[in-house]
Symmetry: C2
Subunit: 412 residues, 2 copies
């Protein structure tokens, strides 16, 4: 059923891959303009989505994520304009060599081809993801959640109309017009038409894609991020970093969820950190040593060490050594972002070398794991897998490469 | 059932990832030495494998691929020594930046972790693959074919014994001691213990892994490699390149399988190329125009355009233009290696830009798509997928990266 979509988008991807930077920016401009022009119909579609959701018992938090306003549509268009301003990641010579036989070999960045994106809730992902994919020369097949179906359809139609009116092939971006589970599974098996699949959303969505997809997946995973306060930490700095990493925005994957404290400074550090977190009413779940220091800390269960709370909650444990902190993180971390707070550089370097996560910090908040903060411009998610791309997925991570080999008749 | 193996190897991988270059080379030296020392028992095991195979009707070609001799074992040990001589791909700073807030961010190459390799027939893959994985800091779970089970077991045991005697953890390399289909499927679902899976072997093996694996796969695919002789080609050069690419070794994935010739030079070029290929008795399967020029060319069916013959056979077609050559390749190629022969640089550049394959050649044989020829040293296969790695999989392609971020208290 999706095959027809696959054929169309794959066909469009060949011409897009050959487009110049100027042409791609022109496409993006047409998409942005058309979003603004069609704001009225997008708002109407969104209203219907929310009405339908309310009938099915959608809660306020969900409705808010789904809600579009004129301002939010403007900011979606602005998001596309921001992507236009980023440098083109395609056509860069990543490596080159000339062999003894005279062959000149270049590794050159190229688009991946067709990227599939499976996502939930927020309709702005429709234009954000399409813009990043197109800038990197990739056509895109989008599949949003059923709750946002009318919104996503209208956003996609607007972008496609904009492309068509500007003389471009609208099939560089298409939405799957079927939100059944079957269509989702079909999409995950479309190796012939889709080169990479990126799931964005809840852990259960991501797991379903990892489990069922034969198309290569870039996994954007959960973050059980740790902060380890070493015995040589500046406690004041540690308290500020923990406070920021835990409370600045609790619902995001780079927020801290687990706190480890070296035994030698446990009492002083825990009291300082807890005083800061108390301001925001953070509930701590701690081991026996922590509870001996601060009796109002809740008892932690084994599950707490692995939990991504996404809430004003945090687990806390006292560890006997740097090594045991590293070992604890190796056991419970999701491989997203971890931080050591210490004034001892060699201990910091050991932590950064041995902790196997996408981003490892010395004396800074885990909240910096973000495409914008890393200087990539926009991002499409944070990868916690090790193949292809790890950490923030910016434009460069949406490219592949090919080898160009120049000879004058060489044979083996 | 494999879980116990997964736990052991994953555990060993953490220490291996932290090992220095010297330590890893010491491990490899111990593995190589032990192969030579245990050559007698390896040959005995191999003899049994071949006897068992013969009883089950194994043919001569298969038996030859399976056969080990003292020289072949020496060359496996030598293969490990060659890997020792290669530079360590781990710990390289791939990119760095300092942000306005003072955060210093480094992207540093790190091991992938645990690599699974599923392969067929040739027992030398057991040591070749293990050596490359270990050099890049990865532990490895090997799963060879059932025909080579005793050989592979004895090779693995020798390497493990060598590691243990030298004081290293033998669990950095282990063989799945069960060649049932179930164990293969179980291995493909071991996301908890295996970070990447590389299938090596027939198209059906590779397809089975792509279809069934939830572990991220690096696909080493088939090669329906094309050579396009442009109207501005040096015909003599073209004939030499086609002859080499088709006949130097017919059984490999970078051998040419399909020939396209521009109509303006079809007669002259086809006669010249055919004269060269006739020396090796290559059978050509051509379209009507080719058959009008050389009536002893066999008629090509639609299937011939997509075929990877791996034999003294080749399809040949006359095309009206460069564009139609590119289009034909886009339709039938497996994305491995393609070549244009032309004296016109802008036409060559267009071909190299628009043909979406791992390696695209101007005036050179497709046989150069090879880790050794590219200067990577050894390789573990040729990737035809676009995520993570494309083309020859050398040591660098067996690494991931992490971000190290250095701060002095930065918060968001």
């Amino acid at each position: 059923m999706l095959e027809e979509t696959g054929i169309r988008v794959k066909k469009a991807s060949a011409a897009l891959a050959a487009a110049t930077s100027d042409e791609k920016n022109e496409m993006l401009r047409a998409m942005a303009r058309s979003l603004t022009e069609n704001a009225g119909c997008i708002l109407e579609a969104n209203k219907k989505d929310i009405e339908n959701g309310r009938k099915n018992g959608m809660n306020d938090a969900f409705a808010d994520r789904l809600l579009l306003t004129r301002e939010r549509i403007e900011s979606m268009a602005k998001g596309i304009e921001d992507v236009i301003a980023l440098p083109d990641p395609v056509g860069k010579i990543l490596w080159e060599t000339t062999r003894e036989n005279g062959l000149k070999i270049q590794r050159v960045s190229v688009p991946i081809g067709v990227i599939g994106i499976i996502y939930e809730a927020r309709p702005n992902v429709t234009s954000d993801a399409a813009a990043l994919a197109v800038k990197a020369g990739n056509a895109v097949i989008l599949r949003g959640g059923k709750e946002a179906f009318l919104s996503n359809s209208c956003i996609t139609d607007s972008m496609r109309k904009g492309l068509e009116n500007a003389g471009f092939d609208p099939d560089i971006a298409e939405l799957v017009r079927d939100t059944s589970r079957e269509s989702s599974l079909e999409m995950m098996r479309m190796n012939k038409y889709i080169d990479a699949l990126i799931p964005r959303g809840s852990a259960s969505l991501i797991n379903a894609v990892v489990e069922n997809s034969s198309v290569p997946v870039i996994e954007t995973g959960a973050g059980n991020c740790h902060i380890y306060i070493d015995k040589y930490a500046d406690i004041d700095m540690a308290a500020k970093i923990v406070f920021n990493a835990k409370t600045q925005r609790v619902s995001v994957c780079n927020a801290a969820e687990s706190l480890l404290i070296h035994k030698d400074i446990a009492q002083y550090a825990l009291i300082a950190v807890k005083a800061a977190l108390d301001e925001k009413g953070v509930t701590l779940y701690g081991d026996e040593i922590c509870r001996a220091i601060c009796p109002d800390i809740q008892p932690a269960s084994e599950q707490d060490w692995a939990r991504e709370y996404l809430d004003y909650k945090m687990s806390v444990k006292v560890v006997p050594s740097l090594d045991s902190a590293i070992e604890h993180i190796g056991k419970y971390s999701t491989g997203h972002s971890e931080c050591i707070v210490t004034e001892d550089k060699s201990r910091a370097e050991k932590f950064l070398r041995l902790v196997d996560s996408a981003a490892v910090y010395h004396n800074a908040s885990t909240r910096f794991t973000d495409g914008g903060e890393f200087g990539f411009g926009a991002e499409i998610g944070i990868s916690t897998q090790k193949l292809h791309a790890r950490g923030p997925l910016g434009l460069s991570q949406l490219t592949s490469f090919k080898y160009k080999i120049y000879g004058d008749g060489q044979i083996r």
